[in-house]
Symmetry: C2
Subunit: 388 residues, 2 copies
């Protein structure tokens, strides 16, 4: 199996991008990554695109060919493939790009993710997003994404004594990180009171416990590790890739406070990478709700089950903590354009491992991790990156 490196990264600002179309943002992120990789477009052998629901957000399927076309790659007839697993679409696209190079089938691969969510009403958007859950057993019966996560939060508070304030601390930290990221949707710091005084969405989760809907795109350029030095001074190797599934419906799980898909994907990625949680300096985890980050840092093995809330309160996941979590601002403050999220995580980790994260730079970061989730944990994909 060939070793694989990231040689370029690019992204758009996340947020309400009223002046740009889906194809605009997809191409903008892709071109930025290609420019960053110092390659010409003719070098590109294949394209993978993560996208959850363009069919419903913009009435357009066939997104792989669309992006290849509008990026000017159709003239070389490069293979272009869309990958979907709800919120994990971007991370899974990254994994396909990894496989394409590891297999020897392709050399230079661009992996992008994009979602344009603002072109439909808020109600339509909520409805579309809920199609990541089990339509027959959850959505049809009125379960929404926030309400499913609220169940998890309530149980976690009951079983482990996680406090309402600790949930808020996730949001406070990620908004603080986001304030240092010029690409973040929200760049203002907030306080516990901001969260605790915000609109109730689904008890105990309030507005500031939830990641926003966003437009945005992000992309990376991959190549075999042994060619990477031809293109960049600072290649970052993908040393581990783990993916796992679980039941689509939450009530079928053995324990709703643990995402087994995260746990297993992490085990697979760490084993492949030959590193442990202690080696990880910086991690981007799937904080679509504040409770999700607490689950993530526990299920990834950074903290014991039940101790994620306390660890957050104690600052152990802050920029200068044991492991810096969501330095980009995370889904909470960086934004969550669904299909783009997994790639935005990779962009942040590569930027950190290159030492180019400016005010939010984690000192001497050499090993990073991304954790991308689909639905309420039915898909999880974890990648481990190392500075070469």
């Amino acid at each position: 199996m060939r070793r694989v490196a990231v040689i370029g990264v690019g992204d758009t600002k996340f947020g309400e991008l009223w002046d740009a179309s889906f194809r605009d943002i997809g191409i903008k992120a892709g071109l930025a990554a290609v420019e960053d990789a110092n390659i010409s477009a003719e070098k590109i052998d294949a394209l993978f695109v993560g996208n959850m629901s363009a069919g419903r957000f913009i009435e357009q399927e066939h997104i792989g060919a669309l992006i290849a076309d509008y990026a000017g790659l159709a003239k070389d007839h490069i293979p272009a493939t869309r990958v979907e697993a709800a919120g994990a679409s971007g991370g899974l696209a990254l994994r396909q790009g990894y496989m394409a190079i590891a297999s020897g089938l392709h050399d230079i691969v661009v992996v992008g993710g994009a979602e344009k969510m603002m072109d439909v009403s808020d109600v339509a958007s909520a409805f579309i997003q809920s199609s990541a859950a089990d339509q027959e057993w959850e959505t049809e019966l009125g379960a929404t994404f926030p309400s499913l996560h609220a169940l998890i939060a309530r149980r976690h508070m009951h079983e482990h004594g996680t406090t309402r304030e600790q949930l808020a601390d996730v949001a406070v930290k990620n908004h603080r990180h986001g304030s240092m990221n010029p690409k973040a949707q929200f760049q203002k710091e907030i306080t516990r009171d901001t969260v605790l005084g915000s609109l109730m969405v689904s008890s105990p989760l309030r507005m500031f416990d939830c990641a926003p809907s966003s437009d945005g795109a992000a992309a990376v350029v991959l190549c075999p590790l042994d060619l990477a030095k031809n293109y960049t001074e600072t290649p970052v190797e993908i040393v581990g890739s783990g993916q796992a599934s679980d039941t689509l419906a939450l009530h079928h799980r053995r324990d709703i406070m643990t995402f087994d898909a995260t746990r297993v994907a992490a085990e697979r990625a760490f084993k492949m990478a030959g590193v442990t949680q202690k080696d990880v300096d910086v991690a981007e985890v799937h904080d679509n709700f504040t409770i999700s980050e607490i689950l993530a840092i526990e299920d990834l093995g950074f903290f014991k089950k039940g101790e994620g809330g306390k660890a957050t309160e104690d600052g152990r996941t802050s920029l200068d903590g044991d492991v810096a979590v969501n330095t980009s601002g995370g889904l909470k403050a960086r934004g969550d354009p669904i299909g783009a999220t997994g790639l935005a995580q990779a962009v942040e980790i590569v930027t950190q491992l290159r030492g180019k994260a400016d005010k939010r730079q984690v000192k001497d970061a050499s090993v990073g991790l991304t954790h991308n989730v689909g639905g309420t944990g039915a898909t999880a994909v974890v990648h481990v990156f190392r500075r070469v």
Copy 2:
């Protein structure tokens, strides 16, 4: 790169499956393939699913995890990935499965394709299907899938003297083949008059020039070639895989009578396989319209540009012709449940190369080909198979 073999195939009948849900048919096809491969479910390392538009047909995204869950594979947390490229979704899923094994990442991989199209109205279905074309430049302006193919047919008739009767002959042949396939949606023979007397859809294309909407699913089981003999007496190797893209909108092409994506994907697959068109005994090509099959047999290089109609009329693509094309009945008679189609093609070719195609068996078939198209040729994927 590891060599890859098909060790199991399975499918459902295609048609109007009112008594089965999306998850029912997906699992039925998958289990049939697993049973055919003589493996137990615990052996499965990964799942890839081709599906175009479950988000719109049944309001459910996250199809990979869904199928893994309902097939009972979630307990082992196997990676499950959905791939989409409109009509080419199934063929692209097959290619991802191929890469997963070729890379060394997985050993036993199930690749399935499924689409449930009957649960929406005919008008909604046409609208959903048109999201394979360019939404901003075609669909919004009223161009439908049949009308785009009608433009191609008109031009082909004008430039190359292809006759209305020759178009009909594609349908007549494929219905004849379908009459020998118990899984086909249409198992009745038709005549030229049936086609020429049928309802006009978009001149010159009539009802019997168009593949139907269908429910259905199909699946294959893949493993490394060197392990294949452990599971089956008759492994079939995938010796070539080629994928290519083109502009999404038809009017951006250099020539609307040639699908360059097909031409390039075929070149790539033949080169990898080390065989030529002359070696191919049996081919399943993407005949979503009668004109599409004529384009396909030309662009794949079986016949010169402009001679596809005459070759069909002369019976050179029949069961006993130079190359037997669409022995399953093709999309026209076998049916076209979009995401399943690319896998149904693989199921037919493997069945032929095993010598198990009963009345429609091509004598001494040893090399077969599948050709799966997305949109009006913006994505094409070609696989070459060989009896081991």
